[in-house]
Subunit: 174 residues, 2 copies
């Protein structure tokens, strides 16, 4: 019957894959300016947000990394990550808040870690863009659970001057 | 007997831990300039290397991130990572090589991905420092398998001028 040669070919291909192995996989370099930059989708972000993926995992890996630039006032929706996230601020001034906590200012060189399942948002300051590298692990292929938008009241006072000390701001709860 | 109250206390503490849960864990911010910077150990590196850990995982997480600065000519030993590594070049000019491949130049903004188990090294160019953020996943608590130092011949010609186009260099094999 005709199926035998096809089955034999599939088995041979599978064995070849196993024989090649990860140790022979090519090291990959993507050059500055060569990667796609996409708008952050409106159902997950408020304002202008640009997302440049730096790496997406394959095989046994589960970590992805992207550079995200928020225009002044732009921010994520509230969301959480099944296995957490680390934000490395590379430019500008921004804000981050954990549900029930104060809005905190973040600046270039600061690093934020959001533990698994913690509801939070992050974004730019009202008068400054902010860029961070975001590193997160996927659980069953999923890196985030997206929730509602961050309201103007939650985002906090727009009058804080860029460069001035920012007192942590806890939005009114009523 | 005296053990009963202690046992009861331990059980109560365990239950409290479970009740708190990850969703209540605090978001952590480390500020620019506040993190420890350590010399890269001589058994793993050639030349002056500074390592600033940005985040180390806990609980179910397995991803760590660090900023590593190589002085001109400095480099890692040959090594591999059980679950791969992503290098995000943030400053300067450097070099990277996979075992059996060409030495390739990397510059600020370039991103290198090293697949799991691939033997490789990375470091600065002969005439320029290089800084990269390194992101890697731990497997059973281990992020790297360290091997022999990169010889001067393997490192490649020192005469390539900084800023000049760098032709990929394959070291002699005999």
């Amino acid at each position: 019957m005709m199926l035998k040669p096809l089955a034999a070919t599939l088995v041979a291909l599978t064995m070849m894959d196993a024989a090649v192995g990860a140790a022979d996989a090519p090291l990959q370099i993507t050059r500055a300016g060569s990667r796609a930059v996409n708008a952050g989708p409106a159902q997950w972000f408020t304002g202008e947000v640009k997302v440049e993926m730096l790496y997406t995992p394959s095989g046994a890996e589960r970590t992805s990394a992207g550079s995200v630039t928020f225009s002044p006032g732009a921010r994520t929706n509230w969301h959480s990550h099944p296995l957490g996230q680390t934000l490395i601020v590379t430019a500008g001034v921004g804000r981050v808040q954990q549900w029930g906590g104060a809005v905190q200012e973040i600046r270039a060189g600061d690093v934020v870690h959001i533990p698994p399942e913690v509801k939070h948002w992050h974004g730019a300051a009202p008068g400054s863009a902010m860029t961070h590298i975001a590193v997160q692990e996927a659980q069953d292929g999923k890196t985030a659970d997206w929730l509602e938008a961050v309201s103007e009241v939650q985002y906090g006072p727009a009058a804080v001057p860029v460069g001035a000390p920012f007192s942590a701001y806890t939005p009114p709860t009523d």
